[in-house]
Amino acid sequence: MNATLLIARRELGAYLRSMTGYVIAAAVLIINGLLFNAFALGGPDKLSAEVLSLFFYFSSGTTIIASVFISMRLLAEERQTGTLVLLTSSPVHDWEIVLGKFLSAFAFLALITLATVYMPALIFVNGKISFGHLVAGYLGLLLLGSATLAIGTFGSALARTQVLAAIFSGCMVVALIVCWLLAKVTERPLQDVFVAMALHGKHFPPFQSGTVHLRDVVYYLMVTYVALFSATRVMEARRWR
């Protein structure tokens, strides 16, 4: 576990020392701010809870996109630059490498997500929202981000370059999002399968409206676990190739 934290600390430092990290953070904050201003605050009068719900809806989109870009470098960049050998020739298990990488990306995403808190704060000052709604929304964003980052880590483990990693993980994330649309045009029992798998349409809206269901929490944690487990298996398999 010590190695996991070491890797996570170094990786988080790399995000904070690199231009890419700041570009992603700036892009997320700018796009979130513009969407919040244009669609959540703009238009006809709304209840504060509706404004907050819209904020979380838009933030979920930027969180998904940011997660793909944050995670694409995790293992693919190390493979590209040849630094992965430092980790694979050290007394560190492959799962510790994958978990350390994931934790750093998650911490960085959490920093960006928490930096958006000024927008709900504006609603809080000028309107009336419940603290529980705020916590549920951010919990949803972090869980959604966790699942997407884990998928991105898996994509990064599969790919030889960062661009390929982004494409792989982007495709996997889109496939899970599209499940919700497929559920609308299919019949049971296939429909139930698609609904259960939908990354956003089924499992995020409750958080958006301030409700936390255990099934949604479990879903995001399961996606995170399965994706990280798969990434570890890919790392192990590469030693045999």
């Binding site: 170094r10 430092g13 050998v85 694979t88 020739s89 007394p91 190739r241």
Partner: protein
């Protein structure tokens, strides 16, 4: 004391292609071994298997008595590995990077500073301790690569092309560094620079097409492959006449002009170096001014070329 490395029937396939096939060799504790081979011969694959980066397809490898397939984790604690491209994080300073490498290999945080200072001392990288790796010259990067490999004081150091891309001054500095490490670690190093191997290593392993084609000291290989050896003579006068006279001595074969300028020629003669008195007498009696006569140096290049030419395809 078990050998530091014992390899039996080591085979590694990439898909259908066997990168290395049925390798067998042993390396004793404290030895410095040179690993020679052409590009694609299987050197890097072998070193990666020994460095526990890759797992073998077949065969048995033990490092310090531990089976690589059973406990790779424990072996990784005992080895320091420098791959052909040093694994450096360019956004880190040298000090932070080495501290990270030390802690990753199990050096406690309280002792990491001391371990880093010692590694920097051995590799002469102390003066760049606080500098960003991205700002370092190629020579310093290579030395920091060596420093990360030895920061946790491993028993076995595996260095893949440590002098790759270095200029002559940096090569000399790297050679000094490896000389300093001799005795403290068992060292297995590969290099394309044969003189480097010749000056640094106790023993050679020559690999060709994924198979070990020869192993032993340079002298062993020279006597095995170089026939009766060579004699070098430096004469004032025409080299052709000198070769003609020298060849009248029984046991002296073909002569090669190594250098000829300003009326002075350096000639290499095929033959047992013990025939030097007879050659000297023949040359003097033949009217050739003999300036110098010596045992011909066994040249690693020629050994290597013979071995790689003779190896099965």
């Amino acid at each position: 004391m078990p050998p530091m490395i014992e390899v039996k029937g080591l085979t590694k396939y990439y898909g259908e292609h066997a990168a290395i096939h049925d390798l067998n060799f042993a390396i004793d504790q404290g030895e410095v071994i040179g690993f020679l081979g052409l590009n694609g011969a299987g050197k890097t694959t072998t070193l990666k298997v020994l460095g526990c980066v890759l797992l073998p397809t077949a065969g048995q490898v033990t490092v310090d008595g531990i089976d690589i397939a059973r406990d790779p984790h424990e072996i990784r604690r005992r080895i320091g590995f420098l791959p052909d491209t040093p694994p450096l994080y360019s956004e880190m300073t040298v000090g932070r990077y080495l501290t990270f490498a030390a802690e990753l290999r199990g050096v406690p945080g309280t002792e990491a500073g001391k371990a880093v200072a010692e590694a920097e001392e051995k590799t002469a990288t102390r003066e760049v301790h606080g500098e960003l790796i991205s700002s370092l010259s190629h020579g310093y990067r290579q030395r920091v690569g060596v420093a990360q490999a030895l920061v946790h004081k491993p028993k076995l150091l595996i260095l893949d092309e440590p002098t790759s891309g270095l200029d002559p001054v940096q090569i000399v500095e790297m050679r000094q560094t490896i000389h300093l490490l001799k005795g403290e670690h068992t060292i297995l190093l590969s290099s394309h620079i044969l003189s480097e191997i010749s000056q640094t290593c106790d023993r050679l392993l020559v690999i060709q097409h994924g198979e070990i084609v020869a192993q032993g000291s340079e002298q062993d290989l020279a006597s095995r492959l170089g026939g009766g050896g060579t004699i070098e003579v430096e004469v004032a006068g025409p080299s052709a006449r000198a070769i003609e006279i020298a060849r009248t001595v029984a046991g002296i074969g073909a002569g090669t002009v190594l250098r000829e300028s300003d009326g002075v020629a350096l000639v290499s003669l095929q033959g047992n170096p013990d025939l030097r008195p007879q050659v000297a007498r023949a040359l003097v009696q033949g009217g050739i001014d003999l300036l110098r006569i010596d045992r011909g140096a066994a040249r690693l290049e020629s050994i290597f070329l013979k071995l790689t030419a003779e190896a099965p395809q």
